[in-house]
């Protein structure tokens, strides 16, 4: 109740006359609602388009609610849409994306946690230098390191294989995740670490018994960051995954770009929603954690 009063006072002070205050209030809401419409519109259009049949789409009323609901496009997108050679829909891509995302997320987070722990508690020689290089790594355009990585993967025989793409994701996730853990661990009281050392705990004992139990919140953030990031990746999947392991995003682009036959806009939009579904679910479920992930990921130096 007090908050409400304070708020009213606040706005009363903002302008000379009360009447203008309410106008400003309406302006605020108008702007926000207008912006919300702009941001929500594509999602609405996606859903509506995916539920129409092609005849209705050709009328050109992109915003209209479907006159007759049809779920055919969804079924087609999932199991029978064509990508040039094959007509298996987006389903193989979905399972490939899971096969790529799950191991990549686990592996990259374990490595990043150990790295961040080593960087912040065990100040070995050159730790600061490595830290600087990590920041640099987080900024480097992928294009600069992609070709050497292709050559390297070819040399070790992992190019266009599932382990290959998992390693690539782990490598590219490392700088940012290590920074995330390092910054988090740096904020923990060092006395904990010192006390554990006095008690005779070693590198791994401290890591598993002391540090990791406290790193649950940052690990949730890291999981959100990595699941959405790796699922949404297109470039690495295109270059490194190979034909048999194409992730969903690549498959989606192939389906939409297929020019043989009539363009099935409704099927394309269904496939698009299906591809966006996993990260969107993560986003809607995680709520504020997602925002924390962005903020944490953005703090790079």
């Amino acid at each position: 109740m007090t908050a409400v009063v304070a708020q009213d006072e606040f706005f009363a002070a903002a302008g000379p006359r009360p009447r203008r205050v309410s106008a400003a209030r309406i302006g605020v809401y108008c702007f926000l609602i207008g912006a919300a419409l702009f941001f929500a519109l594509p999602l609405y259009v996606m859903v509506v388009t995916s539920l129409k049949d092609l005849g209705e789409i050709r009328l050109g009323n992109i915003f209209n609610w479907p006159a007759e609901l049809t779920f055919e496009p969804w079924i087609a997108a999932w199991s029978s849409a064509c990508t040039g050679r094959t007509c298996e829909g987006i389903r193989p891509g979905f399972f490939n994306s899971i096969k790529i995302t799950v191991p990549s997320v686990i592996l990259s987070i374990i490595i990043a946690a150990i790295n961040g722990y080593a960087l912040s508690f065990w100040r070995f020689r050159g730790a600061n230098f490595f830290f600087g290089l990590l920041i640099f790594g987080a900024f480097v355009p992928y294009q600069v390191v992609i070709y050497p990585l292709i050559i390297f993967m070819r040399e070790v025989g992992l190019f266009a294989t599932l382990p290959g793409i998992i390693i690539v994701h782990t490598i590219f996730g490392m700088p940012i995740l290590t920074l995330l853990y390092r910054n988090y661990f740096s904020s923990l009281p060092e006395e904990l670490f010192k006390a554990a050392r006095v008690d005779g705990a070693g590198f791994w004992a401290i890591f598993f018994r002391v540090v990791m139990p406290m790193a649950v919140p940052i690990s949730i953030v890291a999981v959100i960051l990595q699941v959405t990031g790796i699922w949404n990746d297109f470039l690495f999947g295109l270059v490194f995954a190979g034909r048999d392991n194409m992730p969903m995003t690549v498959q989606l682009n192939n389906i939409v770009a297929t020019t043989t036959g009539t363009r099935a806009y409704n099927v394309n939009m269904s496939a698009t929603i299906l591809t966006a579904a996993v990260p969107l679910a993560v986003y809607f479920i995680s709520g504020r954690w997602f925002v924390r992930g962005i903020a944490a990921g953005a703090v790079k130096g």
Binding site: P42, P141, D233, F234, M269, K300
Partner: protein, 281 residues
């Protein structure tokens, strides 16, 4: 483990830069040293020149719009609006989706025959025209719209967190002094948001330099080569066009602005420390 990871980056970058001085087509060949010939060729390749021009136009426009809209939204959200969580969810969800998805959705929305344009015309606005992707002169603005749509929510979230971090007393002081709310935001809050603004800017700048998926999904670089970008130039030259050394020369050029940015950052840090030292003595 860190050493391996970091080493990979350093070796990788060195390898790419070294390749740019050779004459490698399909496979790396280090015995064909050609000096700066690839850079010469790069800067006389029309496709690259257009890519560079595009990334400047796209970068400046989309970052400016993104920051402006992001700040306005953050300021308005900060006015204790009702349903704040709902607004935030709607403004931020595009960021959770792949850039390929963003590209494909907007391609559909901007479809000249069946998209927004035709819907508006069917509603009676006969002269309504909105199909930027079909015209080489306007296609890049279509890319800007999609980019702003995807990234503004993040800027808003970062700036809003920054606004919430400002001391309550400052608002009270401004109110006591009778400063209008909008002026408090522009002249008092904005300078205090320097850190958040820098964070949001860097995040956007990095995504601009990396822009690839959005182009592939939205325009495929077309019409013609009107929306080509450096990142796409490099990938195309590695994969389809089989001219690795030229691609690596382009990649090295992409590295320069990042190095410059970090250099400026280090310089500012160093200056600040130097000033602090002088103040201390």
């Amino acid at each position: 483990m860190i050493a391996v990871g970091v080493g990979l980056y350093v070796v990788g970058i060195g390898y790419s830069v070294a390749l740019s001085f050779t004459n490698s087509k399909l496979l790396p060949k280090f015995d064909t040293f050609v000096g700066l010939a690839n850079y010469d060729r790069l800067w006389s390749t029309g496709r690259w020149l257009i890519s560079v021009e595009n990334i400047w136009l796209f970068g400046l426009l989309s970052i400016a719009l993104n920051m402006l809209l992001g700040f306005l939204l953050a300021a308005f959200m900060d006015r204790r609006v009702r349903y704040e969580d709902t607004f935030r969810t709607i403004l931020l969800y595009p960021y959770a989706m792949s850039l390929i998805v963003t590209g494909l959705v907007w391609q559909w929305m901007m479809d000249p025959g069946l998209g927004i344009q035709s819907a508006m015309q069917n509603w009676g606005f006969a002269g309504f025209s909105f199909a930027p992707l079909t015209n080489p002169d306007t296609a890049i603005f279509g890319v800007v719209i999609a980019g702003v749509w995807q990234g503004t929510g993040v800027t808003m979230a970062i700036l809003l967190a920054g606004l919430r971090g400002i001391d309550e007393d400052i608002w009270k002081a401004a109110r006591v002094d009778g400063i209008p709310t909008w002026r408090t935001y522009v002249f008092i809050a904005l300078p205090m948001l320097r850190g958040a603004l820098a964070t949001a800017f860097v995040l956007q700048a990095v995504s601009v330099v990396r822009v690839y998926d959005l182009i592939v999904g939205l325009t495929g670089g077309g019409p013609g080569i009107a929306t080509e970008m450096p990142a796409k130039f490099v990938i195309d030259h590695i994969t389809n066009r089989v001219n690795v050394s030229l691609g690596m020369a382009a990649a090295t050029m992409m590295l320069l602005p990042i190095i410059l940015l970090i250099g400026i950052n280090l310089f500012i840090d160093w200056r600040r420390k130097a000033v602090a030292m002088r103040a201390a003595t």
